[in-house]
């Protein structure tokens, strides 16, 4: 118990240190640090619509981040959430545009299932390569992520392009308004119940089922799991599948929620930020919920800040980067202690 308390405390310290370092850099560059941080608070919490915006950005981070947590339990590092998210959104879009006349609930259901299926497929391929041939999943999921982004680009610039669109960036047609589950704020009771329910289900699966415990054993020591009769490959594939499914679901929620159409390269960092979210959340479901809200707030503030200061938005991406940097260092240390056990060298 004291061990987990310590880990929480060290994570909090880490976030605070990131804030201080960012403040230091901003101060050294001559920006008004006080204004910037009060701007962050406003943009994330106090300004009109800010807290809604925080939740709106927290939702995809949470769903994809939960996927990272699931993969991680079984010892795999799925960092391709971005591509799985895009592919999910694309498939949901294809279903919705292809069946415009259909009854809304049914179309949404089918679109969501298509998104989940697509996300699953997108991570199952690297997953299969990993459990069958031992291919490094960090590389393959990342590569698949780029392919996913290119597929999105192709679809929005080609087959699904909005012919009347005039903007510089290619975008798809809008889905009918009846298919949307939120207004443009991206938050509604439906979405909150859905996402909350998913988080609870993932928690139950990981912490309160035999399958979840098998995943933990496989993640920590696959050799021992094999000796115990656990089908290590099956568990690994299931973890990959579920991980991709969650990212795909995030894509559907994005489309039926705040998006309504897909713009090429939308939310370009959400999948990667979600990895940081999962790490800051100590790879637990509860921690990831908290971290997702934190980073959702940051994202909301990044969009809000230019309104109140003359700070260029990339300056705040600095804070993102700082947290990611520090959390990776810490993760390395934690992973060495609690991660999968090194293969036996002796004998």
């Amino acid at each position: 118990m004291t061990g987990s308390l310590q880990r929480v405390a060290s994570t909090v310290v880490l976030v605070v240190v990131s804030l201080l370092l960012t403040a230091l850099i901003l101060w050294a560059s001559g920006y008004p640090v006080g204004d910037v941080f009060s701007g962050i608070i406003q943009g994330a919490v106090t300004a009109t619509g800010a807290s809604t915006s925080t939740i709106r950005w927290a939702i995809p981070l949470l769903l994809i981040g939960l996927g990272v947590v699931v993969g991680f339990r079984a010892g795999f590092f799925n960092i391709g959430g971005q591509g799985q998210f895009y592919i999910g959104a694309c498939c949901a879009l294809a279903v919705s545009l292809g069946w415009r006349e259909g009854p809304a609930p049914l179309v949404i259901l089918c679109g969501t299932l298509a998104a989940i299926g697509a996300g699953t497929a997108w991570s199952l391929l690297p997953g299969y390569l990993r459990v069958r041939f031992g291919t490094d999943e960090v590389l393959t999921t990342l590569m698949m992520s780029f392919i996913g982004a290119l597929v999105l680009q192709y679809l929005t610039a080609g087959p699904m392009r909005n012919p009347s669109g005039t903007g510089q960036t290619a975008a798809s047609e809008r889905i009918p308004d009846s298919f949307r589950i939120t207004d443009s704020s991206g938050v509604s009771a439906t979405v909150l119940v859905l996402v909350g329910g998913v988080a609870v289900l993932v928690w139950l699966l990981l912490e309160r089922t035999r399958f979840g415990l098998s995943m933990t054993l496989v993640g920590r020591n696959p050799t021992m799991a094999r000796w115990q009769g656990i089908d290590v490959r099956r568990v690994g594939l299931a973890a990959f599948a579920l991980s991709g499914a969650l990212a795909g679901l995030a894509g559907a929620v994005e489309l039926y929620g705040p998006g309504a159409r897909l713009v090429t390269g939308f939310s370009p960092e959400v999948g990667f930020t979600a990895v940081v979210v999962a790490l800051v959340g100590l790879l637990t479901v509860g921690g990831t919920v908290v971290a997702a809200i934190l980073f959702g707030g940051l994202q909301s503030a990044i969009l809000f800040l230019p309104i109140v200061t003359d700070l260029p938005p990339p300056a705040l991406v600095l804070l993102h980067g700082m947290v990611a940097f520090l959390v990776t260092i810490k993760f390395k240390a934690v992973w060495r202690r609690t991660g999968p056990e090194a293969k036996a060298a002796a004998g």
Partner: protein, 517 residues
């Protein structure tokens, strides 16, 4: 070659420590240990698992900073936890686990170990070969220098660890359980080497488990119990074996509660495990099996003897379902299981005590309760409610571990916090729980102390008396003779001889070395 202080210090102990204390959290690993080692002799350090032997060796070697006390090597005080200073003072350690990098060639590994400040950064292969030729002369031909560490036999690796330790001109050698992985013959060879080193003036401190080995090699003996030095260093001639074992075990410690199942009164003899003509493919790491025929009936222990590396791993792995059976068939409880996966074999009552308990038997970082409940995760139960109660899992794990006398603080602590004997108890508590039909026990007592060894052997016997069948793979002939109802000898991936009690050590030994076909 020799340290300058050597001649002047006939009376200076090679190693001296004063009131060493080490604690890990609430556990006191060493308390107030003071010890002087006379130079040029072989000193043995014995004690039960968890008595603090390895900790003491690490403190002396500078790998572990003590909380209190100080260490002197060759008359020089060593700053706490300073490996480098201990090495410069002439002390070198051979660890319980192999430390040479597996991907290096022997010559490279030795050069790495010997690298000193004055050493050059670049080297040529041929030069290395020449340089290290003498050191490895007795380990094998000239080709050994270009062999990769991972391709060497266990015995050679062990010997090489000693060569490595001496590569830096060490005058004091600490060996932490060097015999744990060795066959009896290799152990004898090791001892001969140590005696030769002693004759050359090297001081040796060796951590051992078996009293027989202590008697064979040591000149003085010291005993640790619960972190305290309870005996020695005493001349071997002056202590009896009885005194030693009393010192090790301590005053009338509560005997292990007998565990096991109620004896099945009129259990009919039935064949629980049967291998007929089983062959497996040879892999890069393991000899293939060649037409193995064997049967384990209920209420019997079948021993598998053999020099390590003659296919025992392959046999256990094939029975477990981890290596596919290429030819022949296997039956479990009378049902064909040739193509069954590991899970189905487990569900049919196959239980395993694997060779390497720390990597194959447990997950070191997972909590105790999860390690204990691992078998509950196997198989599907589609009708059962999917959610489980962790509290129930933890409670049952705690009960099982209590029955088997695993010493732990909480069920949530990671398994790596247990000592070797306790890890084995944990594994037994899982594998010997009700539901066991056939147990395959691979080296179940290797590296364990006396009381843990006795406990494991008693458990196997009780398991057999309760009606189960046991296949016991061991390289300890005494153990096999003591426990086995029948004994098979493996050599080169096949079974070359079958014996019934009473056994003749000589004939069995001949079969093990391939002299008897």
């Amino acid at each position: 070659m020799t340290a300058p202080s050597d001649s002047a210090s006939a009376e200076t102990p090679a190693v001296r420590c004063r009131s060493l204390g080490v604690s890990f959290g609430a556990v006191q690993a060493l308390r107030d240990v003071s010890l002087d080692l006379v130079p040029g002799r072989i000193h043995a350090l014995v004690g039960q698992n968890g008595a603090g032997k390895t900790t003491l060796a690490k403190v002396l070697g500078g790998l572990q900073a003590p909380n209190t006390g100080e260490v002197h090597v060759g008359g020089r005080k060593i700053p706490p936890g300073d490996v480098r200073a201990a090495q410069i003072a002439g002390l070198s350690m051979v660890h319980q686990h192999f430390s040479l990098p597996p991907s290096f060639t022997v010559a490279e590994a030795l050069e790495l170990a010997a690298a000193r400040k004055d050493g050059r950064s670049f080297f040529r292969r041929t030069e290395l070969q020449r340089k290290w030729q003498n050191e490895v002369a007795e380990l094998g031909g000239p080709t050994i220098l270009s062999t990769r560490i991972r391709d060497l036999h266990v015995e050679t690796r062990q010997s090489l660890e000693i060569v490595r330790a001496l590569a830096g001109d060490a005058r004091i050698l600490l060996l932490d359980e060097p015999t744990a992985l060795l066959t009896p013959a290799a152990t004898d060879q090791l001892f001969e080497r140590l005696l030769r080193l002693r004759d050359n003036g090297v001081t040796i401190l060796i951590v051992l488990h078996k009293l027989r080995e202590v008697a064979a090699v040591a000149e003085t003996v010291s005993v640790l119990r619960d972190g305290e030095l309870v005996l020695g260093p005493s001349e071997m001639a002056e202590v009896s074996e009885g005194q030693l074992s009393d010192a090790i075990v301590g005053p009338a410690s509560g005997a292990d509660r007998t565990v096991g199942m109620a004896p099945a009164a009129e259990a009919a003899q039935e064949t629980l495990l049967e291998l007929a003509g089983v062959s497996t493919r040879e892999s890069a790491f393991e000899l293939g099996l060649n037409e193995i025929n064997l049967r384990v009936e209920s209420q019997e222990i079948v021993g598998i003897a053999g020099v390590e590396g003659n296919g025992q791993r392959g046999l256990v792995s094939a029975i477990a379902g981890l290596t596919p059976i290429a030819d022949g068939s296997m039956r479990l409880g009378g049902v064909d299981a040739t193509r069954a996966g590991p899970a189905r074999r487990r569900l049919r009552g196959l239980r395993l005590v694997p060779f390497d308990r720390n990597t194959e038997g447990i997950s070191r970082s997972a909590p105790l309760w999860l390690n204990q409940s691992a078998l509950r995760l196997v198989g599907r139960h589609p009708r059962r409610f999917p959610l489980i109660s962790l509290r129930q899992y933890k409670r049952q794990a705690a009960e099982a571990m209590d029955v088997w006398r695993v010493r732990y603080d909480t069920v949530a602590q990671p398994a790596e916090s247990l000592s070797g004997g306790n890890v084995q108890r944990l594994i037994l508590s899982r594998e010997l729980a009700p539901g066991v039909e056939v147990l395959v026990a691979a080296q179940p007592t290797r590296g364990l102390d006396f009381s843990a060894t006795n406990f494991v052997r008693r458990s196997l016997r009780e398991l057999r008396d309760g009606g189960a069948g046991v296949l016991l793979v061991s390289s300890d002939l005494d153990e096999l003779f003591e426990l086995s109802d029948r004994l098979l000898v493996m050599y080169g991936g096949r079974i070359v001889a079958r014996f019934e009690a009473p056994y003749d050590r000589r004939t069995v030994g001949d079969a093990m070395t391939g002299a008897l076909r």
